[in-house]
Symmetry: C2
């Protein structure tokens, strides 16, 4: 498998990404080529530093970087030699099968939508984030690609999320819910109500509205929402988990007796840390594009990069995009048929 | 102080609310009258059971209850003898200075807006929820009263939340932020952008956009958002905190060694549990009404009821509503002046 990795634009600099690339090469013999895209000198220096020599490595020089302050669409158009743009072009040109970036999320979405185009029948790509629930995990989308959404977009997110949950997370018939401010049908807003109506017309395992209390509880496997709300929920959850972790740490270090107890029970904390750690999920796929695009966390460290490569490999293997294209076509046909049927005058 | 307590409609039945009333009467000698509103027979039985006899108690019979399945506005109009409605009427008639209910949130908002009317200059009441941050706490509003909001509503939430944070939580000059999907100015949607513009024209300590990552971090004391997003954030945070707590518990009980460690360090877990427990906050005030209205959690237990009474007492003491009325009037004047100034033609 051929994968492109944008090594610039992460919070911890390109060396951390290169170290992650090294881990991925060691872990996944399936990789046949790994493109490192960014400043050539920095990459060569990083590889030497990491003592990483692997015949599958390809360096692709890019002279510019998209920063967090760049306005996505304008920057993608202006900075033609940005690493994020060059990395996406490798997929467009068929040289790579998937691209991974830790950089500016909006920039990655813009570059991908611009260079790869959307899958037939998909109006908006969506960021699908996997989050831990009580015993399993669920996928939340859109986690931030579109701050404005129409009902049909939410339906498409539902279809794409359902396929991702089935193929990658292994749920046979994932339950899909539209995120709302309450589970009663009269709750929500125009967007959620219309989206729920559309979802009911498909063969999704649609369970209606889910609310905040349903998250992290194994009640739903695919949570559908607009990118504004989804982004806030994702980031607030990350912030809360971190705050609880820090609070726990400081309370357990508050006196020698607690320190002793914490040392004795340390296995429990390690398990929880691993489970709650965003790094263990690695990367969030941006679904709905003509190509596999994985957004890794800006703060991703070596291990997160390695896991993002794993997500890319799995997404290639399961041909998620082909399945999405097929299901979206079926759903669109079915919706069109329903509309026609509703337009037929009744003579009763 | 005279307080009305709707004893019906909570998840755990009216006895738990009555037990909470007993705790409150013991804890707060400032209470001069405590109205228990609901089914008289149930209340009398509950008081006997709790061995609660207090000269400050008044029973107000109400023959109906608003359930979670009731559509708020319609139910408030139809069930004229619902406990939630009768309890609000005690405030309207001046017999009580504040009302507390654990019942249907929409029903409480509807009954309060309908019977008490809004404060002059306030377009929409908002539910203000206090949440723990790393070392302190912040107030999030609206947590669910309005699923559709206009920019001016968010401005009013900002003003009301700022006063609440200052008077009740004790922050001298609380930092106010509009919740968005990123802190950059080009992020957000039309609502957040226009709301941020309005907030900048006031004398609020406005810090611009805050994102999910800023919550629970002591970066902001007042987080302003529409009731759809706010409700989801609030409930998702509660669900996540609960999930982490349960996970921690099961991991610490996984083997005898961990159990021993957990027992030794138990003080730490108790402190965290207390800090994360929604019961310790008791109730969320619905701000912007001609009267003090406190929404207690549906799942509130005795202690939460007691704390909701404490919130009511503090809100009465600090004359929060008078301050809101004054600040809203000043802000509206200032905005009107700005609009006029912008309309004046310039001859430069």
């Amino acid at each position: 498998m051929r994968i492109a990795l944008d090594v610039m634009g992460g919070d911890h600099g390109c060396n951390v990404v290169i170290d992650g690339a090294k881990l991925a090469l060691e872990a996944y013999p399936k990789i046949s080529e790994l493109f490192l895209v960014g400043n050539q000198t920095d990459i060569e220096r990083g590889l030497t530093r990491a003592r990483c020599r692997d015949a599958r490595l390809r360096i692709v020089h890019a002279s510019e970087v998209l920063t967090m302050d760049d306005k996505p669409l304008a920057a993608v158009r202006k900075k033609k030699d940005a690493s994020i743009v060059r990395a996406v072009e490798l997929v467009r040109d068929g040289r790579a099968q998937a691209v991974i970036s830790t950089g500016n999320t909006g920039g990655l979405v813009a570059a991908a939508a611009f260079k790869l185009r959307r899958l037939d029948g998909v109006d908006r790509p969506a960021i699908a984030t996997v989050m831990p629930s009580a015993r399993n995990e669920f996928v939340l989308l859109d986690a931030g690609a579109n701050s404005h959404c129409r009902p049909i977009h939410l339906l498409q997110f539902a279809l794409m999320g359902s396929i991702y949950s089935r193929e990658i997370l292994g749920y046979k018939r994932p339950r899909v819910g539209v995120l709302s401010n309450g589970t009663e049908e009269f709750k929500g807003n125009e967007l959620t109500r219309a989206a729920a109506r559309l979802c009911r017309q498909t063969n999704l395992n649609f369970i209606g509205y889910v609310e905040g209390h349903d998250l992290f509880t194994d009640r739903v496997e695919v949570v559908v929402t607009d990118g504004f709300t989804g982004n806030i929920v994702l980031k607030a959850s990350e912030a809360l988990a971190k705050a609880i972790g820090r609070f726990l740490k400081s309370e357990l270090a508050a006196n020698p007796i607690r320190k002793l107890g914490a040392a004795v029970a340390s296995g429990a904390f390690l398990t929880i840390k691993r489970r709650m750690d965003p790094d263990s999920y690695g990367g969030a796929p941006i679904l709905g594009l003509n190509g596999i695009v994985i957004k890794a966390h800006g703060a991703a460290r070596e291990n997160a990069i390695k896991n993002a490569v794993r997500v890319a490999i799995e997404t290639i293997q399961h041909q998620v995009n082909d399945l999405i294209g097929r299901d979206i076509a079926v759903a669109n046909e079915r919706l069109a048929a329903t509309e026609v049927a509703e337009e037929v005058p009744t003579f009763a």
